[in-house]
Subunit: 236 residues, 2 copies
Amino acid sequence: MKKTNVLYQHGTLALLVPGLLAGTLKMEDLLKHGDTGIGTGEGLDGELIILDGIAYQVDSAGKVNLVSPEFTMPFANSHYADYQKVTTIANASPVDFEKAALQGRPNSNTFFSVLVKGTFSYMKTRAVVKSERPFSTLAETAQKQSIFEAKDVTGTFLSYYSPALFNGAAVAGYHNHFLASDHSIGGHVLDFKIAEGTLFVQTFDTLEQHLPVDNSEFSAHDFSKDDIAGIISQVE
Amino acid sequence: MKKTNVLYQHGTLALLVPGLLAGTLKMEDLLKHGDTGIGTGEGLDGELIILDGIAYQVDSAGKVNLVSPEFTMPFANSHYADYQKVTTIANASPVDFEKAALQGRPNSNTFFSVLVKGTFSYMKTRAVVKSERPFSTLAETAQKQSIFEAKDVTGTFLSYYSPALFNGAAVAGYHNHFLASDHSIGGHVLDFKIAEGTLFVQTFDTLEQHLPVDNSEFSAHDFSKDDIAGIISQVE
């Protein structure tokens, strides 16, 4: 039975901060927990988006690749789509989007996902260049990124909202990825404007947080000296 | 199939801080996720310990009661026991216990449970007096507690360790409950000394965090003004 109330997450954003970028989950295993999701590859190898059970990678050249089952990730999440249409949205800034998705609440104490299907008058994304071992910190690795921009592009915007309490495990607030219908642009969203679109929401009552306990670097790392919240707000 | 790699948690410690003490999960539902666990009842109604599938409540009079299936809880966790014996332990303080359970690591980045079966030369526990609506904050409610002490008592000490990253969702570090074999004492452990015992550990790779999304007080609460970490360290 596919549980549509569960958000599955492998790894934490916190482990990326000191550079624990080893791929510790295969895509074929992430897809056992959902048909929709986001993530990144080993060494921050591009930006991932899973739609309708198909996993895409936007690499640092801006190319959209199909992801192989053996592809490994340090951090990713997935869930089984069961979105409810909330509203149509037009001429909307990121702030407008965030308000619309929260449906009048100032914030949310639970996890939810938002999907916007439509046309974007502006889209700005990034994809990180894959780094090799020995991995540097998140702040250093994320400096090597490509920025992409497009105007008047149609596509799917996939967002996950995490409550403030779970900042560090995930990104508090919204974490947005995008894929153009014609694959001309995609990646981790830095800025956008919605021309017109339909906004769907799916609320979760459960976070299934999976940790890479068999990875010795993760198990041995002392996180107490890492500025997790500071680096996340700087990079994400 | 019983998943022995999963720690199930309903609610968060953070929601107790402002006094969101409504019972939002029934014991019969908690027991669908494990045969071993700890928690508290609505209004901080005593201290719970689940051993071998049987749920006990230590109330503020020090009495050990069997918990009914309909009993509700704001915060609790359970898992299916599959402990591995680590060591025998004798004449051990809390610091000795913590070191032994961590098996040489300075801390742990994943969740695990520890069971000590044996004789305790000293045991000091508490159980909170159930409060009624409108509920006060955790700090105020927890002031109305009974303290129990015993010497040379045999029983089961059940502990859960949570990584620092998840402080607020759970208690970072160890959270310990106890039940004497003869039910003469039990509750949330404040201090102890192990005369001699056997120490068992079970490590989890997954936290299944369930949130009371149908509770309107939880959904509407603004946690941003709550001193979650400060109150937890003061009360737990």
